[in-house]
C-alpha cells in the first residue's frame, strides 16, 4: 500500500497536528520511491493549494553551543502553550560525518509534557550539508506550517546557519550568552547577518547580561539596524523576559510582509537546489544566475519549491544553447 498523500495533506490542511510524525517520516525519506509522494505532499500544502500562505509563524532560533538554546526553548514552548498555540520544533543537530551517525541530544534538554498533543519535537541530523539545516528541514517546515501555529527551527552555530535559516523562517532569532564577544564581532564584521531578534540569555547573571544587551544594542544601532529587538532572558526559575521575547517575536512577524518574504525564499531555494543538482553548467543553460532569478520572479507566486525547481529544470533542458 502506498502512502496516502492526499490524506496526509488533508489532515495538515485541517490543522490535525497529530499527523506530524508521519509527515516527517515521509519528507525525510531519500528513497527514490518516495520522492513523488514528497513532491505531491508539498504541492498539496503550497500557497497555491491552500489559497493563502501557510498560517504558522516559522521561527528560526540559532546560536553557538552552550548559549542556552534548549533551556530557552523549554521556556518558550511553555509560553506559547500558555498563549494557546500549537508548536512544532525541528531541532537540527550537527552529525558525525565520519560514520554518518549522529547523537541527537537536544531533545533531552527540552522539557515538554508527553500528554500534550499540541507539541511536536523532532531531532534532525544536519548530515553533510553546510549551513546548518538538515536536508529535509525546509520541506518539513513548509508542511508543518500548514497545521501548527508555530514552527521552530533550531540550529547550532553562528555565522553561517542563520543565512540558510533566513530562507525558511519568517523571523530569525540569534541566541548569545553574555560575556561572549563573538556575536558582537560577527555582526560588526558582517560575518553574521543581522538577526530579526537578538536574545541574550542568562539574564540572571545580572550586570554582565545587562551590559551585553547594551553593547549589542549599540552595535546594531551603529549599523543602522534599529528595528532588531534585543531581549534579555533567564530561563532559570524564576524565568524572566520570556513574555517580552514572545511579544518581540510576534511584533516582528506582524511588521513583516510574510508572503513576500516566503515567496523570495522559495525562489532562492529552488535556485539553490537546482544549482546544487546541476552546477555551473545548469546555471549557464538558464542564462546565468541573475537571468534565472528574473525568470523565477515572473512565475506564479503560490508554487512550492520542488515545483519551481522542476520548472527550472524544464527550462534548462529546453534551452537552445546546450
Amino acid at each position: 500500500m502506498a502512502v496516502d498523500v492526499e490524506a496526509l495533506a488533508a489532515r495538515l490542511r485541517d490543522g490535525d497536528v497529530t499527523v506530524a510524525p508521519q509527515v516527517l517520516n515521509l519528507v525525510e525519506s531519500r528513497a527514490p520511491r518516495d520522492q513523488a509522494a514528497i513532491a505531491a505532499l508539498l504541492a498539496a500544502v503550497a500557497p497555491s493549494a491552500l489559497g493563502r500562505e501557510a498560517p504558522a509563524h516559522v521561527v528560526g532560533i540559532t546560536g553557538p553551543p552552550g548559549a542556552g538554546k534548549s533551556t530557552l526553548l523549554s521556556a518558550l514552548l511553555q509560553g506559547w502553550r500558555e498563549r494557546g498555540r500549537s508548536v512544532a520544533v525541528l531541532a537540527v543537530d550537527p552529525s558525525s560525518k565520519r560514520s554518518g551517525g549522529a547523537l541527537l541530544g537536544d531533545r533531552a534538554r527540552i522539557a515538554f509534557d508527553p500528554a500534550d498533543r499540541e507539541v511536536f519535537i523532532r531531532s534532525m541530523a544536519a548530515g553533510e550539508r553546510l549551513g546548518g539545516l538538515a536536508p529535509a528541514t525546509r520541506a518539513a517546515a513548509h508542511a508543518l506550517a500548514a497545521a501548527f501555529d508555530v514552527v521552530v527551527i533550531e540550529t547550532v552555530g553562528v555565522g553561517q546557519s542563520e543565512t540558510e535559516i533566513a530562507e525558511v523562517a519568517d523571523t530569525v532569532a540569534v541566541v548569545v550568552q553574555p560575556g561572549s564577544g563573538d556575536a558582537l564581532q560577527f555582526i560588526k564584521s558582517g560575518i553574521m547577518e543581522i538577526p530579526d531578534v537578538l536574545i541574550v540569555t542568562k539574564a540572571d547573571l545580572g550586570q554582565v547580561a545587562l551590559r551585553a544587551r547594551r553593547d549589542l544594542h549599540a552595535a546594531l544601532r551603529s549599523l543602522g539596524a534599529r528595528e532588531t529587538a534585543v531581549v534579555a532572558v533567564s530561563s532559570l526559575p524564576p524565568a524572566q523576559g520570556i513574555d517580552r521575547l514572545l511579544d518581540a517575536l510576534d511584533a516582528h512577524r506582524a511588521a513583516t510582509d510574510v508572503a513576500r518574504r516566503r515567496l523570495e525564499a522559495r525562489r532562492l531555494h529552488a535556485l539553490a537546489d537546482f544549482a546544487e543538482e546541476h552546477g555551473a553548467r545548469g546555471l549557464r543553460a538558464l542564462g546565468g544566475r541573475r537571468a534565472a532569478e528574473k525568470w523565477l520572479a515572473a512565475q506564479q507566486p503560490g508554487l512550492d519549491v520542488p515545483s519551481l525547481t522542476r520548472l527550472l529544470e524544464q527550462r534548462a533542458a529546453a534551452a537552445p544553447d546546450r
Partner: protein, 660 residues
C-alpha cells in the same frame, strides 16, 4: 568496622535484616534507600512506579525512620546512609527519630554520603541543580560541625567514578576537585578557626579494582594530596585533622555475570588493595556480594561477603605489621606517578571553573574512558577471566536453583507503601506540616541554613516527596549532562568490525529511505546511565542516528519521543530491577501511541526467568552484563531492524505510514 550495604522492601523488613546482621557480628549499619527516597519522591508519585522498595528501603517520613531503626541503640550505632540529593532530609529524620527515643543529636555517629557531583557524573540520583545542591551540602556541613560533631556530613565518592569508567588518575583528581568545591563553599559560612574541624569531618568513599597494587598506590596518593590540600589551601595546622579518612566498597564494575563464582576471588584481592599497607588502610570496608551482577543479593550472599572480611581480619596476619611498603621504591614511584597525573587533571578541572562548572567536562571524559575500557575488553587487550578468556565452564551449582540465585521484592510492597504514605498524610496535623514546609520554602529562598527548618518539617510529619517538591519549586528542576554528545567518536581504532557494521547500517538505511534511527531511553528512577551512554555512543559510531534523552523518563515520555522522532528501534536500559513493571508499561505506551510495531530491545541486570517473560511479551532482544561485546549488540540491533522492515509492505518507507 565491618558492614554490608542493605535495605529493601519496607522499613519493618529492613529492620529485621539489620538486627540479624548486628547479631552476626556486624558493627555498623549501612542503609540503602530506594530510588524514590533518594530522588525525593513519595511512593505514590508517577515516577516511583516499579521502584518502591527495590534497591533499598523506602523512607517517607519520621514514622518510617522510627520503624527502620526500632530497637537499635542510636547512641552507640555508627550509621552510614547512602543518600545524596535528599541527604539533609534523611539526616533530619534520623535526628528526629533519635530525639524521640531520648538520644541527643550530639551523640549521633555516622555518615551521609551527600556527594552530589558524582550523582551528576555517574549515579544519577540528583534532584536539584548543581548550585543549590552544593548549598544544601555546605549547610549540612556547617550545621553538623557544631550540632552533630561526630557526624561525617559528606563522604566524597570516588567509588562511583571508577564504576563510570574512571582511570585511577581521574578517580583521584575528580574526587579531590569535588572536595575543594565543597570546602570552598563551607569556608564562606564558618569562621576560619573551625576549618580544621570541618576538614577533619570530610571523609571519602573510594573504589578498589582488581589491579590491587596500583589501587593501593592510588590510596597512598590520595592521602598525600589530601594532606597537602589541608595544609596549603585551608591552613589546617593539626596533622590529625589532615588525615585521609576513607571507607571502601570494592569494585562492582569488574564483577561478571559469566562464571560469577570468580567474583569471590576478585573481591578478596580488591579487599587487599585497601588493607595491605597500614599507612593507607581503609577505616571501613564494604564488600559486594558475589552475585551482584545478577540481581539483589540474599542474606546468605551478604553473609558470605562479611565472612570474607572476617577471614582477612581474624585468620591472616594482615593486621600484625607496620606499613609493609615503607621504603619500597616501586610503590613510591607508582604513587608519585599518580600524584603528578592527578595534579594535571585537577588543574584542568580548575580551569573549567572548579568541579561544579566542570561537570560536563568530567562527564564526557568518563564516558570516553569507559568506552576505551569496553574496547579493550572486546579486543582482548584486557583479560577478564570467564568473560573474554577461559570461558569454558562446568555447569554451576550456585546458580542452578530455580529462583535464578537472587532475591526478588514482592510487588505488593509498592501498593502497601502507596497506601501507607496516603494514610500517614491523612492522620497528621496538616496545618503544622503546611507551616513547616512554608518555612522550608522561605529559608530556601534566603541564605539561611536549611537544616533547622528541615528538622522542624521532619518533626511535623512532612514527607520526603513534600520536602523535595518544596525545594524543586524553589530551585528549579534539572537534567544533568549526558556526556555522550561530547565524547569523542571511534576514530583512531577503526577496525574491520566497525567498518562492516557501518556498511550494514548504510545498506539497511537505504532500504528504509532514511538513516536508521534509535531511541535510547532509561525508564524509571535508576540513574546508572553508563550502559545506556555506551550504547548511545556505539550506535552513533556505527552510523545510526541516536536520540538519547538521559535518565528518569516515564513510559509516556519514551513513547511520545519514539513516535515524534520516528525511530526504527527503541533501546531501554534498567539496572534497578524494576524491569518487570516498567518494560510492559513502555510497551503498552508504544502501542497506545500507535507504534507498537517498533522493535524494543532491553539491557540491564535481568535474571534468565525474567528474560524469557520479556521475550514472550514481545521484546526483540534482552542484553545482560554477560553481553559485554557492544559491537555484537549493534550488529544484532541492525539485524532486528532489517528483519522488521523486510516484513513491511514494499511501497511504504515506514510500517506506521500505511498502518494508520
Amino acid at each position: 568496622m565491618m558492614r554490608t550495604y542493605a535495605g529493601h522492601s519496607t522499613a519493618a523488613k529492613s529492620n529485621e535484616l539489620y538486627r540479624r546482621n548486628l547479631a552476626k557480628g556486624q558493627t555498623g549499619l549501612s542503609i540503602a534507600f530506594d530510588l524514590p527516597t533518594q530522588t525525593g519522591y513519595d511512593a505514590d508519585h508517577e515516577l516511583a512506579r516499579g521502584e518502591v522498595g527495590k534497591v533499598g528501603v523506602p523512607v517517607a517520613h519520621k514514622g518510617d525512620m522510627a520503624a527502620l531503626l526500632d530497637g537499635i541503640p542510636l547512641d552507640k550505632m555508627n550509621t552510614s546512609m547512602t543518600i545524596n540529593a535528599t541527604a539533609a532530609w534523611l539526616l533530619a529524620l534520623y535526628i528526629v527519630t533519635a530525639e524521640e527515643t531520648g538520644v541527643d543529636q550530639a551523640q549521633l555517629q555516622g555518615t551521609t554520603q551527600n556527594d552530589i557531583i558524582k550523582e551528576y557524573l555517574s549515579r544519577g540520583t540528583y534532584a536539584f541543580p548543581p548550585g543549590p545542591s552544593m548549598r544544601l551540602i555546605a549547610d549540612m556541613v556547617a550545621y553538623t560541625v557544631e550540632e552533630v560533631p561526630k557526624w561525617n556530613p559528606i563522604n566524597i565518592c570516588s567509588y562511583h567514578l571508577q564504576e563510570a569508567g574512571a582511570t585511577p588518575v581521574q578517580e583521584i583528581a575528580y574526587a579531590m576537585s569535588t572536595a575543594i568545591a565543597v570546602l570552598d563553599e563551607v569556608r564562606a559560612r564558618v569562621p576560619q578557626e573551625l576549618m580544621g574541624r570541618v576538614f577533619s569531618r570530610i571523609s571519602f568513599f573510594v573504589n578498589a579494582g582488581v589491579r590491587f597494587i596500583e589501587e593501593h598506590a592510588k590510596l597512598r596518593a590520595m592521602g598525600r594530596l589530601w594532606d597537602e590540600l589541608g595544609r596549603e589551601r585551608y591552613g589546617v595546622q593539626d596533622a590529625k585533622q589532615r588525615r585521609f579518612r576513607y571507607g571502601v566498597q570494592v569494585n562492582s564494575l569488574g564483577l561478571t555475570e559469566a562464571q560469577p563464582e570468580n567474583n569471590v576471588q576478585r573481591i578478596v584481592l580488591e579487599a587487599l588493595a585497601v588493607t595491605l599497607g597500614r599507612d593507607a588502610r581503609a577505616r571501613a570496608l564494604q564488600l559486594p556480594a558475589w552475585n551482584e551482577a545478577l540481581g539483589l543479593p540474599r542474606p546468605w550472599d551478604q553473609q558470605w561477603s562479611l565472612r570474607l572480611q572476617q577471614v582477612l581480619a581474624y585468620e591472616t596476619d594482615l593486621l600484625e605489621y607496620p606499613d609493609i611498603f615503607e621504603g619500597s621504591v616501586v610503590m613510591d614511584g607508582l604513587v608519585a606517578e599518580l600524584v603528578d597525573g592527578a595534579r594535571r587533571e585537577m588543574a584542568i578541572v580548575a580551569e573549567h571553573g572548579g568541579a561544579v562548572d566542570a561537570v560536563p567536562y568530567m562527564k564526557a571524559a568518563l564516558v570516553e574512558s569507559h568506552r576505551e575500557r569496553i574496547r579493550r575488553i572486546e579486543s582482548g587487550e584486557l583479560t577478564v577471566v570467564g568473560q573474554n578468556r577461559f570461558i569454558e565452564t562446568e555447569p554451576s551449582p550456585l546458580t542452578a536453583d530455580n529462583d535464578g540465585g537472587i532475591m526478588t521484592v514482592d510487588p505488593e510492597v509498592e501498593q502497601q507503601q502507596r497506601e501507607a504514605v496516603a494514610a500517614w498524610r491523612a492522620e497528621r496535623d496538616q496545618a503544622a506540616v503546611d507551616a513547616a514546609l512554608a518555612e522550608v520554602a522561605r529559608v530556601a529562598a534566603s541564605d539561611e541554613n536549611i537544616m533547622p527548618a528541615t528538622i522542624a518539617a521532619a518533626r511535623a510529619g512532612a514527607t520526603t516527596g513534600e520536602w523535595a517538591q518544596t525545594l524543586r519549586d524553589a530551585f528549579g528542576s534539572y537534567r544533568g549532562p549526558t556526556g555522550v554528545g561530547e565524547a569523542a567518536g571511534a576514530g583512531v581504532d577503526d577496525d574491520a568490525a566497525l567498518e562492516q557494521i557501518r556498511d550494514e547500517v548504510e545498506r539497511v538505511s537505504e532500504g528504509l529511505g532514511r538513516r536508521l534511527k534509535i531511541l535510547v531511553g532509561k525508564p524509571g528512577l535508576d540513574g546508572h546511565s553508563n550502559g545506556a551512554e555506551q550504547i548511545a555512543v556505539a550506535a552513533r559510531d556505527a552510523g545510526m542516528e541516536v536520540v538519547y534523552e538521559g535518565i528518569r523518563l516515564t513510559p509516556a515520555q519514551i513513547a511520545a519521543s519514539a513516535l515524534q522522532e520516528g525511530v526504527h528501534v527503541v533501546g531501554l536500559s534498567i539496572l534497578s530491577g524494576s524491569h518487570r513493571e516498567l518494560i510492559p508499561d513502555v510497551m503498552a505506551a508504544l502501542r497506545e501511541a500507535g507504534i507498537g510495531e517498533v522493535p524494543v530491545v532491553v539491557g540491564g541486570i535481568i535474571p534468565p526467568a525474567d528474560e524469557r517473560a520479556l521475550r514472550a511479551a514481545g521484546i526483540a532482544a534482552v542484553y545482560t552484563p554477560k553481553d559485554f561485546n557492544i559491537t555484537q549488540i549493534m550488529r544484532d540491533i541492525v539485524g532486528i531492524v532489517a528483519r522488521g522492515s523486510a516484513s513491511d509492505s514494499e511501497n511504504s518507507p515506514e510500517g506506521s505510514l500505511s498502518r494508520r
